[in-house]
């Protein structure tokens, strides 16, 4: 996706569409809207939580994660890569405009 476009808004799937079971260091996530099961490891659950339903742009998400987890040297490229994975699997949507 064109993650370098600051106008893109990232949104998490609505919480009522998710069933999450913590297994060990992984969590199994059933996405009711797609019928697809995902196995997530950190920091995917943290990113999902920080995104929320309202949606964030990449810069605002960086700021939010920085505040929540006191990230020392937040790496925008790494975060974007994780985000793109979540977009590709459908747990996060990414669309133009707010």
């Amino acid at each position: 996706m064109d993650g370098d476009d600051p106008r893109l808004t990232y949104r998490m799937a609505r919480p009522e569409t998710l069933s999450i079971v913590h297994l060990d260091s992984f969590s199994a996530v059933y996405h009711r809207a797609s019928g697809i099961t995902h196995l997530l490891a950190a920091p995917a659950p943290e990113i999902l939580a920080a995104l929320g339903e309202a949606g964030q742009t990449l810069p605002s998400l960086m700021a939010r994660l920085g505040a929540l987890y006191t990230l020392e040297d937040a790496d925008a490229a790494a975060l974007e890569a994780r985000l793109d994975e979540l977009v590709a699997c459908g747990l996060v949507s990414c669309e133009p405009g707010l």
């Binding site: 809207a33 797609s34 019928g35 590709a88 699997c89 459908g90 990414c94 669309e95 133009p96």
Partner: protein
């Protein structure tokens, strides 16, 4: 049912569910096999919901309903993913066939099995849409260059794409019949009259849905899946009516096909109508199943297979197409 079992068994139970009460074990077994062969087991299960049936049948139908519901979740999700991708290139998502029925909540979608995602885009947007889909994880199904050139030159859709993670196919159409067909429907009218059925998701107008179903069955296909297709037609007529249908069909050059589809759907699922000799041959072919769900009447099948190619391609092209298929080791119609 005093006569040999065929597709009419399924049609009669779909028309009048109460007739299922007359079935004995062998009748049920045959009905279930035929419904599965026609990919209508979920539709049958939805139709018979709430009726008293033998316990074993109740379980089979219950599983079919649950299975169809899950299938529709997956199909609807494919539509949602496509909507997101198309939004990046500024195109509306226009759904065709089963996914459209399901998302719109139409009666034709009840329990219906849905295979590929079929969508319609303007012809001048094809390249953009194709690039966006490839970028989002879809890949070509057929690497064979002949098939690819065939699709691009002669078909009304992109070569089929499959998603590398979800293993689901998408068919991107720019009109509802291939350019080789003698009939050329009006894609601008199809796109112009599309209606929003869910946020950001569109479908053809109900009249165009009927025209498309008829075109798909009678001007494009070899009648495979015809019983299900005509159930769609029957439901659309019941739910949306036929006001203005004749005129719309004429506009697309499909008045004969649409009139026939309406007659066939009525003969199978509606009130007793009048059908002519040619319609009867169609019905004979459409209901060619035995109590094992086997395709019967092979001669009629082959005739319709050749006929369907004739309709879509000028004769010289047909020969070229078949030759390439034979040489490549491909076969004719399956004997299922």
């Amino acid at each position: 049912m005093g006569r040999a079992v065929d597709g009419w068994l399924l049609a009669s139970v779909m028309r009048t569910p109460a007739r299922a009460a007359d079935l004995e074990a062998a009748g049920w077994t045959g009905l279930i096999a035929i419904a599965r062969a026609e990919q209508m087991i979920g539709t049958l299960a939805a139709r018979l919901q709430g009726l008293a049936v033998p316990a074993q049948v109740a379980r089979i139908l219950d599983d079919a309903r649950t299975s169809a519901a899950q299938g529709q979740i997956a199909a609807t999700w494919e539509a949602e993913v496509a909507r997101r991708v198309l939004s990046h290139v500024g195109e509306r998502l226009i759904l065709l066939k089963g996914t459209a029925f399901a998302v719109a909540g139409l009666r034709a979608g009840l329990g219906r099995s849905i295979g590929d995602l079929d969508i319609l885009v303007p012809k001048d947007a094809l390249a953009r849409v194709e690039a966006a889909l490839l970028d989002a994880g879809w890949e070509w199904v057929k690497p064979d260059p002949y098939d690819d050139a065939y699709y691009r030159t002669w078909m009304h859709e992109l070569p089929p794409l499959i998603h590398r993670d979800r293993d689901r196919m998408i068919d991107v159409h720019h009109t509802i019949l291939p350019p080789t067909a003698r009939i050329t429907p009006d894609p601008v009218a199809l796109l112009g009259d599309a209606v929003e059925i869910a946020p950001g998701m569109f479908a053809l107008s109900p009249l165009d849905m009927l025209v498309h179903a008829a075109a798909h069955l009678l001007a494009d296909g070899d009648l495979a899946g015809g019983m299900r297709n005509l159930w769609d037609v029957h439901c659309l007529i019941e739910e949306c009516g036929t006001d203005g249908l004749e005129e719309r069909a004429r506009h697309h050059g499909l008045e004969r096909e649409v009139a026939r589809a309406v007659r066939l759907a009525t003969a199978l699922y509606g009130k007793e109508g009048s059908v002519g000799v040619v319609d009867r041959i169609y019905l004979f072919r459409l209901t060619a199943r035995d109590e094992w769900g086997r395709a019967t009447r092979p001669v009629t099948r082959m005739a319709f297979y050749i006929r369907s190619h004739w309709l879509r391609m000028p004769p010289g092209l047909l020969a070229r197409h078949l030759w390439t298929k034979w040489r490549g080791g491909g076969a004719g119609p399956s004997s299922g």
